[in-house]
Amino acid sequence: MALEFILERYNYWIVIILMMTGLYIVFSRGNLVKKVVGLNLFQTSVFIFYITIGKIVGGTAPILIGGHGDEHGDTHKGADGAVAAGAGHDTAAADLSGQDGSSANPVIDLNATLSDQGGGLHDKIANPAIEMKPNDLSVSPPVGGDAEAGAAPSLHVEPGKISNSFMDEAKTAFELNPSPDSAGAGHADAASQIADAAGHGVNAVTDAAAIIYTNPLPHVLILTAIVVGVATTAVGLALAVRVREAYGTIEEDELEAADHIAEFGVPAEGQA
């Protein structure tokens, strides 16, 4: 058990070993460049520590998966955007209900995007709204879902995930309102529920999509820390260069001896 406990946390051991190695080099080496190297090791251990914090077992890299993944922001943005998408859907639903089921054009337009993204789920949604309007919507999934999927990419929400959860919500909503006349109201309900689901944030979205991302925030933080580390290294090495120019050496004991001679005119005790 104890061995398992230790082995399971191997990345923390790496962090600790690197950290101690780095600090030891900083304290024990007299060469200024080696000190900078030690500092670098020390900082690298912290980078690994932060990445360990962000790691979720079974999670993928925090890069959004799906056709539009490349244009989207981080998950926080996704959660915020989802609320906006809910609101957007509300208006879309209102428009569609005004047209009372004869909204073939927008539905077909949106269909192309949708079939890429969440086609599998649509089959599961057998709701009365479709059955009431077979002629118009026979080739298309539910209106609410369409509008949502259409709205989602334009609002920079990860479409695969968001629309999936929206589908579930929409399905419930339609089941609650089987009457064709209240299809518009059903959309509004769906919209409000979508907003709720979005309010639950990343968790609800991720569950629906069954994609687990590692936490991106530590990665962002450590990118900043890496930049700081690079700057520190640069300044440290630049100082080492200047020390070399001024003293002709970068060994700490020789620097101290030179300073001692400069100050007192004689070598320090115990030195030749």
């Binding site: 200024l32 912290v46 100082l239 200047r242 620097l255």
Partner: protein, 501 residues
């Protein structure tokens, strides 16, 4: 105009941060200095307006890029950091105009735009540390100010090459401190999942486990290194001694104070004194280290043969007073610490500025240079004596107010022994300051050697800012409404921060 007012909280940071790279485009010579001076005044105006705003309207919260906290970065300004902002930008607004002659004589003139650029970045970093309400943001700004400080210290190499090794050691220790701080932040993030200070406070409440204790320890050690807390002060004497005089005056008055502020902010706004380990830290770490620091550093200062180095050790001792105030864990103690942060900045700023005047005329800050200075540079001597007395704690100066608040705070908790030690260590400071004053006033100027050449008084461009700061020493010693009143209110707000949000 109203748009500018709503953006007021970000102005103190953004003004020097944008102005600094522009400085590099300016021609060498006087122009970068003038530009930096104007920027520092604008920054000071923004900070003063912000302090006024916070004092009348209460806490200001500014969301950077309109991202709502806790996800976005929040600038959260209450009385405590408004006071430190006012202090740091105020010192900058006095030191920057003072700088021209001194910098021209001590650093390479071709680097003047680089020098003033680095000064502004340093200012922006310290203001950022003070103003932000995001724990990781503190680290970023801390490193922005530290990195430019390393470069500034190294610029003293033209006069003394030991500035290079001093800067290198400062870099090594400062980086270790900053990295410890990041580890602490990482542990807190692991325990809570947030970086916003107010949010951290809410989520930490009631938690008590090893992760938080370890995070706390890393943060205290990391910031302690930056603040030159007693056993971790080894970088400070050399860095202060060999840096260009203006840089010393600026960072001695601001950098360690900002670090002490960060410590206070973490103690009260993120952790709270309810934590058992906080009480232990106060009683067994900060209090003893503060007292030992006060004595050891003061005693070391007595035996220095160099005024700048003596004042540097004195700074370490003064940090001890501040930590002592914080470690009492009472409102009065915290208020005393904040008052001393403010007052000590005024004292050390003025003292190092008078040393800068001496260095300009005599090219040395060894004790011998101060012999008989009363006859050769009477105005500078007057400034040194007044601010020196303020350091000791003579009545009608800010030093007296600091000691008074601190003594009152120790009486309140019944630490009679500690009160005695405060008075005793003040007497040591009387010895080392008195020694220099005796040299300046009573001794004859050296009759031979390089220091005996006839000299003039320092130029007006240096005397006026220096005396402004000396006058502030006396003014705030008589008018305690601003410092004492705001510090007490700030301490009040910090102690009750749990209910504030």
């Amino acid at each position: 105009m109203s748009g500018l007012i709503s953006q007021l909280p970000v102005l103190p940071v953004i003004t020097p941060l944008i102005a600094a790279p522009l400085t590099l485009l300016l021609p060498k010579g006087r122009v970068p200095w003038a530009w930096a001076t104007i920027v520092s005044w604008l920054t000071f105006a923004a900070s003063a307006a912000l302090l006024h705003n916070v004092a009348t309207n209460g806490v200001v919260s500014y969301h950077l890029g309109d991202w709502a906290p806790p996800l976005g970065i929040e600038y959260r300004i209450d009385l405590a950091n408004a006071l430190v902002l006012f202090l740091v930008s105020g010192i900058a607004a006095i030191v920057f105009p003072f700088a021209y002659e001194s910098v021209r004589s001590e650093t390479d003139n071709r680097q003047s735009s680089l020098f003033y650029g680095a000064m502004q970045i340093c200012l922006a970093g310290m203001l950022g540390v003070t103003i932000t309400g995001d724990a990781f943001n503190v680290f970023v700004f801390l490193e922005i100010s530290s990195l430019s400080t390393y470069a500034l210290v190294a610029m003293g190499a033209r006069r003394d090459r030991r500035a290079l090794t001093a800067a290198f050691n400062y870099l090594v220790m400062g980086t270790i401190g900053a990295t410890f701080f990041v580890i602490g932040i990482g542990l807190l993030y692991q325990a809570t999942g947030t970086l916003n200070m107010a949010d951290l406070h809410l989520r930490l409440a009631g938690q008590d486990n090893r992760v938080i204790e370890a995070g706390f320890a890393f943060i205290v050690v990391g910031i302690g290194l930056k603040a030159a807390m007693f056993p971790m002060h080894l970088w400070l004497p050399n860095a202060y001694t060999y840096a260009p005089s203006v840089v010393t005056a600026f960072i001695a008055a601001t950098a360690t104070k900002v670090a002490v502020y960060v410590l206070v902010r973490f103690f009260y706004s993120i952790f709270s004194p309810d934590f058992a380990f906080m009480q232990a830290t106060f009683a067994y770490v900060l209090l003893p280290l503060g007292v030992i620091g006060m004595f050891v550093a003061s005693l070391v200062a007595v035996f220095q043969a160099d005024v700048k180095r003596m004042l540097a050790y004195s700074s370490v001792a003064q940090i001890g007073y501040m930590l002592l105030g914080v470690s009492l864990g009472t409102k009065a103690g915290l208020a005393a610490a904040l008052v001393h942060v403010f007052n000590h900045a005024l004292i050390k700023g003025a003292l190092f500025m008078s040393v800068a005047c001496v260095v300009l005329r005599l090219g040395s800050h060894a004790n011998e240079a101060f012999q008989g200075l009363g006859r050769r540079m009477p105005v500078t001597t007057g400034a040194f004596i007044l601010s020196g007395l303020s350091l000791v704690g003579a009545p009608a100066t800010v030093g007296f107010i600091s000691k008074w608040y601190l003594l009152k705070a120790t009486f309140e908790v019944g630490h009679w022994g500690v009160s005695f030690l405060i008075v005793a260590s003040s007497l040591i400071s009387l010895i080392y300051i008195g020694r220099i004053i005796e040299m300046m006033v009573l001794r004859e100027p050296p009759e031979s050697g390089p220091l005996s050449a006839p000299i003039k008084e320092a130029p007006m461009s240096m005397l006026i800012p220096m005396w402004v700061l000396v006058a502030a020493n006396v003014y705030f010693g008589l008018q305690t409404d601003l410092t004492g009143g705001i510090a007490s209110a700030a301490a009040d707000a910090l102690m009750t921060v749990g209910g504030a949000r």
